[in-house]
């Protein structure tokens, strides 16, 4: 690990100012991903600004009926929160399907969103990787890409975003609150992460020194009927090959509204807007669900090693939607 200075600030503004003056620095909260990347020398910050105690670790009601999740809320506290479990079940399920009990106790909401890809080449400094070292090339494009993207990748990068939590938040229309060198702003979660394009080194639209302070969940009545399904190589403690977060509003056998996002398929949580459009007004049947999944997956461009993800994502979407219908009967 490269040497670094460790700093604490008195408040969020102080931390933002500190990092703005340290171009090679980074924020640290739980550190479960960052410390690992520092050991691998994938991340080599010269200053760490500890923000663990500078943002809220509480979940609060918003006047519009939504919830505000402080950036420092741990993944385990968020998953176990009774209001989250009742109103946004998909979010609790997504969190519980990720990492291990030990990691969820330490990992924070803000940090979970900003974790880096688990592409093996990104984590191996002996191989070319445009995300880690811009311009060096992509080893995964022609290499081991079984776990990587089927949507939205570029010739420069085929990495996937590893978070489960972010997939559920994408389906729930969450909004990310930040405090940066240029003030505060609200970013729809689906706009936080970027597609790789020509700049795969930039995972998100955040500026250097911009701190996530909270995530807002807008009210969504039918999210009480929502599910997360994760498909992976082992039963527990593995990243998703494909995941589905879905909420379904069905009345008299007809889909009134739907929210669907896919994980493990792109550089960002993939909101399945084509599938949602196909579902609105359609009968809540397996046939409609197959057509909706097909509409979304028509845009997929699998890599040589991951063509299996297309039928896998189709099956996972259909099964998740059927589960939601069966539950409502």
């Amino acid at each position: 690990m490269k040497p670094f200075r460790y700093e604490r600030a008195d408040d969020a503004s102080g931390a933002v100012a500190m990092l703005a003056g340290a171009p090679g620095g980074a924020f640290i909260a739980g550190g479960t991903n960052l410390v690992d990347l520092m050991k691998l020398e994938v991340a080599t910050p010269d200053v760490l600004v500890d923000v663990k105690r500078l943002t809220s670790d509480r979940i609060e009601e918003l006047p519009d009926g939504g919830l505000r999740i402080g950036a420092a809320v741990s993944n385990s506290d968020l998953a176990a929160d009774r209001t989250i479990r009742r109103r946004y079940r998909v979010l609790s399920e997504a969190l519980l399907s990720g990492a291990s009990g030990q990691l969820r106790n330490v990992a924070t909401t803000g940090g979970n969103l900003l974790q880096r890809t688990r592409c093996v080449y990104f984590q191996d400094v002996t191989t070319p990787c445009n995300k880690r070292e811009p311009g060096s090339g992509c080893s995964a494009r022609e290499g081991f890409n079984r776990e990587l993207a089927i949507f939205g990748w570029s010739d420069a990068c085929v990495a996937t975003h590893p978070s489960d939590m972010a997939v559920a938040m994408a389906a729930l229309d969450a909004v990310v609150l930040t405090h940066g060198p240029n003030g505060q702003r609200r970013i729809p979660l689906t706009d936080l992460h970027r597609l790789p394009g020509e700049e795969p080194e930039r995972d998100t639209v955040l500026e250097h020194g911009e701190l996530i302070t909270a995530v807002d969940l807008p009210p969504l009545g039918f999210a009480t009927r929502s599910r997360f399904r994760k498909v992976r190589d082992r039963a527990s403690y593995a990243f998703a090959l494909v995941s589905v977060a879905a909420a379904l509003d069905v009345a008299d056998g007809v889909v009134r509204d739907a929210r669907i996002a896919l994980g493990g398929v792109a550089h960002k949580p993939w909101r399945a807007t084509r599938a949602e459009e196909a579902l609105r007004g359609a009968p809540a049947t397996e046939r409609s669900f197959r057509e909706a999944a097909g509409a979304e997956l028509a845009g997929a461009r699998p890599l040589p090693g991951n063509a299996f993800k297309v039928p896998l994502a189709r099956g996972a979407m259909v099964r998740t939607l059927l589960d939601l219908v069966e539950e409502s009967q």
Binding site: Y6, V35, L96, Q102
Partner: protein, 171 residues
């Protein structure tokens, strides 16, 4: 260039003051600086759970925790679980159920199980709990396996680890 920082850690009830390089993890501080070797270094990347300790009351991978970020932390290791010279019930149950072979992952398994039982006691659901909007956790074998999935055992003593924990749940 190294950066030295003075910190205090409370480990198994005893307070320790030490000066560490900012890069030092809690695991390395415990093992290499304080000679507290019950947390083990397995993968050193948060993937195996051998380094599990209770960090301010919750189970955590000490290999991914920077010591400087845990100034003043209260740490419990497997060596600090017993009371008055008696083994912790989970430690006894691991022996009775032959829940290890080489033993290297065992301290992490036992501390993780202690934390896991507290989490279940608090009503935390797991990925296999079904309807997570409902309260109450019945720790059957499937629940124990899921909740302990952050602790690997390369001797594959899993079957007996699950029965050792299940025995303590039944009591």
């Amino acid at each position: 260039m190294t950066v030295e920082v003075e910190i205090t850690l409370r480990v198994d009830g005893a307070e320790h003051r030490l000066t560490v390089d900012s890069r030092t993890t809690v695991l390395d501080a415990l093992r290499d600086r304080l000679g507290i070797t019950s947390p083990k270094k397995g993968c050193d990347h948060g993937q195996c759970g051998a380094c599990t300790v209770l960090l301010d009351g919750r189970r955590a991978n000490s290999c991914l925790a920077l010591a400087v970020a845990h100034q003043g932390a209260e740490i419990v290791t497997a060596a600090g679980l017993g009371r008055d010279g008696n083994l912790h019930p989970l430690q006894r149950s691991f022996i009775e159920h032959d829940a290890f072979q080489c033993g290297y992952c065992t301290p992490g398994q036992i501390v993780s199980a202690v934390g896991m039982l507290q989490e279940a006691e608090a009503g935390w659901p797991s990925a296999v709990s079904g309807d997570s909007s409902r309260d109450g956790v019945a720790l059957n074998d499937e629940e124990i396996r899921e909740r302990m999935s952050g602790n690997l055992c390369r001797c594959a003593a899993y079957a007996n680890i699950v029965s050792a924990i299940a025995e303590v749940v039944r009591r």
